[in-house]
């Protein structure tokens, strides 16, 4: 049959395959021809601003919404006609959606009962998973008797207890305070590695995406902008959107005047700068040169770098582990540039209004078409 042919063709590599999947609401695409493959046991985070289609994509994978185009494969099997209760997917919802009339243990036992696990095995399995999320002593508490963090753990246990092929997390940590959130991020990672379950996580917290994932997808306006490892996503953003969305990035508008393999020379306010390009750019292309705030530096007296310019400090924000300066460089057409300065470095006791020299190493400059 057609199905079996497709299955054998794809079963070798991917746990999840998304092929040209689109979801159109009232003529507006919420997800626009998204495609990616995810290998077994990997932790993928989908990162993007509000309204970029992250939840919609996740809901299509879970089966709550049917794509208007494209196909999703789980373990090589197309699932667009499979109702959600027949897919082997565990999900942790944004608002958790725990069953309020059940105890923690009953919540965790629910998928086992619905999926007809042998009744004799259920209590042991529930106990094991409650212990995995460190909730052993709370088994008989009702949901409203648990703290926010404990409720998260119940939701994780409920999603994992039946050993799904795939775990989906829809911003379940968004409501927690920062400390607990960071704790839970690492907890997710620990459990995911312990069980080796393929995981797709949705967030708009860039730190979370970089910390917990094997792979990161950046989405904007329904389209996948880049899929790569956290280091590549941060170090080699595929386009201006990704460079802007992750990290603190300065953009200097300019025009391409020449290009060699992988690099381009750009005129910015009469200066010639050089930077990396992702794709070859023709001379005359309008571009933005992107520079991470941690790569811009306030230079000491005799320091020499590949590019430097005079500037004036207009703002200085102390953040504990670093100070964030905003400087205006007349030589760069009055561009405002943000500079991270770790406490012991360059700027010394410089303050607002002081003249400084800023500079950077040209290997850090990235050039994106506008």
């Amino acid at each position: 049959m057609d199905d079996t042919a497709r299955r054998s063709e794809t079963s070798t590599q991917a746990a999840v395959q998304v092929q040209d999947v689109s979801m159109v609401f009232d003529g507006t695409p919420a997800v626009d021809a998204a495609s990616f493959d995810l290998a077994h046991g990997r932790f993928l985070t989908i990162l993007g601003p509000s309204g970029s289609g992250k939840t919609t994509l996740l809901r299509m994978i879970a089966g709550f919404q049917t794509p208007t185009a494209g196909e999703i494969f789980i373990k090589g099997t197309p699932v667009s006609t499979t109702p959600p209760h027949k897919r082997s997917i565990g999900m942790v919802f944004q608002k958790l959606a725990l069953f309020p009339h059940m105890t923690a243990a009953e919540n965790v036992a629910y998928p086992l009962k619905m999926r007809r696990f042998a009744p004799a095995d259920i209590p042991g399995r529930v106990k094991r998973y409650l212990e995995l999320v460190q909730l052993g002593p709370y088994a008989d508490r009702r949901i409203h008797q648990l703290s926010g963090g404990q409720q998260q753990r119940v939701a994780i246990a409920r999603a994992l207890v039946f050993e799904p092929d795939l775990l989906l997390l829809d911003e379940p940590l968004a409501a927690l305070d920062r400390k607990l959130r960071e704790e839970m991020q690492l907890e997710f990672r620990r459990i995911q590695q312990e069980l080796g379950v393929t995981t797709i996580n949705v967030t708009h917290d860039q730190r979370e995406a970089l910390v917990v994932s094997d792979e990161v997808i950046v989405m904007d306006d329904g389209r996948i902008q880049q899929m790569a490892s956290p280091t590549t996503t941060y170090g080699e953003p595929a386009n201006r959107f990704v460079a802007n969305f992750i990290g603190v990035t300065n953009f200097l508008p300019g025009e391409v005047i020449g290009a060699e393999s992988g690099r381009a020379r750009v005129r910015v306010a009469g200066h010639e700068l050089e930077g990396r390009v992702a794709e070859p750019l023709a001379a005359g292309t309008q571009v933005d040169c992107a520079l991470r705030a941690e790569h811009a530096r306030i230079l000491g007296e005799a320091e020499a770098v590949s590019f430097s310019a005079d500037a004036v400090i207009t703002e200085s924000i102390f953040e504990g582990d670093r100070t964030v300066y905003s400087v205006v460089a007349q030589a760069l057409g009055g561009a405002q540039i943000r500079v991270f300065d770790t406490l012991h470095a360059g700027a010394g006791n410089k303050g607002i209004g002081d003249a400084v020299r800023i500079g950077w190493d040209s290997r850090h400059l990235m050039v994106f078409p506008r």
Binding site: F64, P84, H85, F93, K95, F99, P100, H101, Y110, R115
Partner: protein, 266 residues
């Protein structure tokens, strides 16, 4: 918060006024029912249980009470599924004509009950079922159903729509999800509505009077006919019986179903 003394005084005055206004008639009736005299008076003359004895000795009363309980039970059992499904359909599934339907369900309240009663009398009369109790229960259910629907609707509105998705995700079929997750999550609303329906049915008078005959008199109708003869303290005793039913049903629900747990869980 509002700590200002004038505000607090205003709030407390309203609360106290409400308690007096709502509670005083009940207190007067309860006290009057224990009178030792021959007339319904307040303050009561002395203390005795003679009117309760008299009441329990009356076969008419016991039978009427039994019938009213049957009517109320029928009404509640019928209202629970129909009201719950109606509320779910209207709030949840955004069906067409939802607004019109909502108005339609309000209709019984906009028509004077006397008119509803006459209408029902014709309908059930044509069906040749007058003289049995279930039409009274059905009629009571029909006119009071909006209470059930409202009470369940508010629970449906508070329901997280992802709860059913979560059930599906756990492997539950739509039917399983409905019975194991949706209905239990709506229970506070269903219980509140059922309690209201039961008590309202126990009290229903205006429509019932058109639907009962001498052989199937319900308690409120029985009370009305006895008033027409003479107002004696046994009427006050009947009221106390009503109050007892209300209190007992609330406590029973609390004990059996654990009302507090439903009320606390968001």
């Amino acid at each position: 918060m509002f700590r200002a003394a004038p505000f607090r005084i205003a709030v407390w005055s309203v609360v106290v006024f409400n308690i007096i206004f709502l509670g005083l008639p009940t207190v007067v009736i309860v006290l009057a029912s224990f009178t030792a005299g021959d007339l319904l008076t307040f303050p009561p003359e002395g203390f005795s249980l003679r009117w309760y004895e008299r009441l329990l000795g009356m076969r008419d009363f016991r039978e009427a009470l039994g019938r009213s309980l049957q009517v109320a039970l029928f009404c509640t059992l019928f209202a629970m599924p129909s009201g719950t499904l109606a509320a779910l359909a209207m709030v949840r599934y955004r069906i067409r004509f939802a607004r019109t339907l909502q108005l339609y369900f309000l209709l019984p309240f906009t028509v004077p009950l006397v008119v509803s009663g006459i209408g029902m009398m014709y309908v059930f009369g044509d069906m040749r079922v007058l003289g049995s109790l279930w039409p009274v229960g059905l009629a009571t259910c029909a006119i009071n159903l909006p209470f059930m629907i409202w009470s369940v609707s508010s629970a449906v509105n508070r329901l997280d729509p992802d709860l059913e998705n979560a059930a599906a995700n756990c492997g539950a079929t739509p039917l399983q999800a409905f019975f194991t997750v949706t209905i239990p999550a709506l229970m506070p609303g269903i219980i509140t509505g059922a309690l209201l329906m039961f008590i309202l049915a126990l009290n229903e008078f205006i429509v019932s009077i058109f639907l009962v005959d001498a052989s199937i008199v319900t308690l409120p109708v029985w009370m009305y006919t006895s008033i027409r003869n003479i107002i004696t303290p046994d009427l006050a005793a009947v009221s106390v019986v009503y109050i007892l039913f209300a209190i007992v049903s609330i406590f029973a629900l609390d004990r059996w179903v654990g009302l507090d747990i439903f009320l606390k869980s968001k």
